[in-house]
Amino acid sequence: MEKILSQEKLREWVDALDDCEVYAPAFADSVWNFARVKAGADIDLSHTNTIGSVKEFAFPQREVFFCFEKKDGVPVLTPTLPDPKPTVVFGVRPCDGRGMPRNDTVFNKEFEDPYYWARRNKLTLVGLACNQPHSPNCFCQSVGGSPHAEEGLDILMTDLGDRFHVKGVTAKGVEAMERGRDAFDAVSDADQAEVEKVHATSRSHSQRPLGNLDAIAEAIRESFDSPLWADMAQHCIGCGICTFLCPTCHCFDINDEVINPTTGEGERVRTWDNCQFPDFTMHTSGHNPRGDLGSRLRQRVSHKFLYFVENHKTQQCTGCGRCITECPVGIDIIAVLERVGQS
C-alpha cells in the first residue's frame, strides 16, 4: 500500500493510533532521541538520526526475566514476560530498520527469546528515508543498505517537502496505515515520480566506501593475530558507547538483583553488556580470552564483518555511523576496516 500524507495530516494519523504507544524522535538535551508522543501535534520528523537506536524497543536496557522468592523454603519463580501495548515508532531511519532483522535472527536461532519477541511482536516501525546523509559517517550503501531501504521496516515514509510518501511494507504496517486511512491521499503519478527522484538523489550522495565486503571478511580472518588491532585500539578508552548506540549490538548480561537479603527475594535481570568491557569475557579465575583493547576492538569488528557473515550470511552492521561519530577518541570503523583490508 502506498499513500500520500500531507505534513498536516501526519498529526491526524498519529492521533488515530490512540490505542498504541507512539514514539518519535525529539530534540532534547542537545540530542535527538526517541521520546513518547502524547499527541500528533508533538511529532517532529526533522531529525537527523537518533542517538539511541530503535533496538531498545524490543531489547530494552533492562529486562526482568523473573522474580524469585522463597515460599516455605522452596524457591518460587514468577516469570515477568512483558505484555506491552502495541507500539509504533516513527522516524526510524532505514539503517536502524535494517538492524532489526539482524536482531531478530539473534533472538530467534535455535533458542527463541520470549522477552524479545513479546516486545518485538507488538512493534511497528515507521521508517523515514534519508534524503541526504546526516553525517560524513553514514555508510549504509557500503554495507548493502540504502537511504530508503525497507528491510526491517513496517512502513517507509519519504519526505517530499510538503508531504510524505508512505508505503506500507508489511501487513503490520498496512494495518497501521488503515487505522489512519482518512489522513491519507492516493499517490499520483507525479508523486511516484518524485519519490523515485528523491530516492535516486539520496542514493547519489557520496558515502564513505568500504570496498568488497567478502574481501574485508577474509582480511579480518587473516589478521586475527595482527598487531594492527592493538595499534588501532591504542586510544580506545573501553567504554560502551559504540555498542550501546549500535542498532545491531545485542550482547547482554544477566544478574540477580536482590531486593530483600533476609527473605532472599529478588529479580533476575538482563541488562545490556558490551564486548569492549574487560569483564565481559573475563573468567572467574581472572583469565581473559580478550584481555586487551586490541582483541576487543577485533571482536567488535570481526563479529560484525566476519562471524555474523559466516553464521548468517550478512554483515551485522547497517552503516548508521553512530559508533564513529560518537566515539570520544575518533576510532573509526571504516578506517579500521580500510587498514585491515590493506594489511
Binding site: V31, N33, S135, C239, I241, F244, F277
Partner: protein, 346 residues
C-alpha cells in the same frame, strides 16, 4: 597565537633526542571535524600534530593508560612520555603526581596556553545545528568560531561564547602551570563567565526542579561508562561502583570474588545510575580538575560536569582547596581545618 609549527618542532626534538619514548598530541581524524588523540613515536610523525579549538581530549588519560600497560608488561618501557597539555590537562597531571601515580620525571609536559579561547563543546555546536554535523570547525582568532555544516555545506560564524565548552567559559587557569615548556601567551582572565557559573546557575532553581532535572538525567544514563573511561582520575584498578574491570590475582580467594560489594546494580535505572554518578562525583572531590571530558563524551549529554564543579566550588570556597595546584599538599578529604564548616551539624 600558538604556532603549531613550534609544537611540532619541540615534539620532533624530544623524539629525535630520544628524551621521550612517545609524544601524546592531537591530529586530524577521519571520524569528525574534531581532532583526535595520537601517539607519536617517530619524529617525522610530528608534522601531523594540530592545535586548535577542536583539540578536546584530556590526554593525561593516556599517561594513565601507559602506566597501566607498563605495569603488566614483561618488558616495560619506562622512558618518559611527552604530552601536549592544556591548562586543565596539566592540572590533571598535577593530581596524578600528587597521588604518586607516576613521577615528575616520567612526563615531559608540552604546555599549550588556551590563550583567549578554549575548546568547542560538540554538543553545544550540535544544539546550534539541531543535530546536524559540522564538517569543519575553526577559530577565527577573535571571538567567533567558523563552522561548515555537513550536507549543505553552509558556512556560519558562531560567537565563541555560545559554543565554547562551559569549562572554558569559566576557566580560571588557561595556561599550564605545571610544564616543561609552554607555547602561547599566558592569558589569565577569559572574561566570559565567572568561575563555577554553570553550577551556581544550577543551584538557583528549587529543590524539586533540581531533582526533576537530575532524575531526568539519571534516567537517561546508558551506563556506557564513557565518563569513567575517559576520566584520567578514574584510574582505580577496580571501580568501587559497578566496575567493568576486576582485580583478580593468583592470591584472590573465592570469598573475595564472591563478596565483592554491589553498591548498585548494573541496571540502568534512575536509582542505580544515581549511585554510580554520585559516587563518582564524591570520589572526584578535590581530584577533579574540570577538564569536562565526562560531560563531553556522554552520548546522551548528561551535564556531568556540574556534579564535579559543584564540589570543586565547595572545596574552593569552603576549604580553599584547588585540585592539581599543589602536588605536595595533602588531598582534600584527607586533610581538614579547625574552621571547616560546622553549622550544618546538629
Amino acid at each position: 597565537m600558538v604556532n603549531v609549527e613550534e609544537i611540532r618542532g619541540y615534539a620532533a626534538g624530544l623524539l629525535e633526542k630520544g628524551e621521550v619514548k612517545s609524544v601524546l598530541g592531537f591530529r586530524r581524524g577521519s571520524a569528525s571535524a574534531f581532532a583526535e588523540p595520537c601517539t607519536l613515536i617517530e619524529a617525522s610523525d610530528a608534522a601531523s600534530l594540530v592545535w586548535d579549538p577542536t583539540c578536546l581530549n584530556n590526554l593525561a588519560l593516556y599517561l594513565v593508560k601507559d602506566r597501566k600497560q607498563q605495569a603488566v608488561s614483561k618488558t616495560p618501557d619506562t622512558r618518559p612520555v611527552g604530552i601536549v597539555a592544556k591548562g586543565c590537562d596539566s592540572r590533571a597531571i598535577g593530581v596524578l603526581l600528587q597521588e604518586n601515580y607516576f613521577k615528575r620525571e616520567d612526563v615531559v609536559v608540552i604546555g599549550v596556553s588556551c590563550e583567549g579561547t578554549g575548546v568547542v563543546d560538540p554538543r553545544k555546536l550540535s544544539a546550534k545545528l539541531k543535530g546536524r554535523t559540522a564538517s569543519r570547525v575553526t577559530f577565527d582568532g577573535a571571538d567567533g568560531i567558523n563552522v561548515s555544516v555537513y550536507g549543505d555545506g553552509t558556512e556560519t560564524v558562531i560567537p565563541a561564547r555560545e559554543v565554547l565548552a562551559d569549562r572554558c567559559l569559566e576557566c580560571r587557569a588557561a595556561t599550564p602551570t605545571l610544564n616543561d615548556v609552554v607555547f602561547g601567551e599566558t592569558v589569565e582572565a577569559r572574561g566570559y563567565n565567572e568561575p563555577f557559573h554553570a553550577a551556581k546557575e544550577a543551584e538557583k532553581v528549587s529543590e524539586d526542579e533540581r531533582w526533576a532535572n537530575w532524575e531526568h538525567h539519571f534516567d537517561r544514563c546508558l551506563r556506557c561508562f564513557a565518563c569513567r573511561a575517559v576520566c584520567p582520575m578514574c584510574y582505580c584498578p577496580e571501580c568501587v561502583v559497578d566496575s567493568t574491570t576486576f582485580v583478580v590475582t593468583l592470591g584472590t580467594s573465592a570469598e573475595e570474588k564472591a563478596n565483592r560489594i554491589r553498591w548498585c546494580e548494573r541496571s540502568a535505572n534512575t536509582s542505580e545510575s544515581a549511585v554510580y554518578h554520585l559516587t563518582r562525583a564524591i570520589h572526584l572531590a578535590g581530584r577533579c580538575i574540570d577538564c569536562g571530558e565526562c560531560e563531553r563524551v556522554c552520548p546522551v549529554n548528561i551535564p556531568l560536569r556540574l556534579l564535579n564543579t559543584k564540589l570543586e566550588k565547595e572545596a574552593f570556597e569552603m576549604f580553599e582547596y584547588q585540585a592539581g595546584h599543589d602536588i605536595e599538599q595533602a588531598s582534600l578529604l584527607s586533610s581538614f581545618r579547625d574552621e571547616d564548616p560546622n553549622s550544618f551539624i546538629r
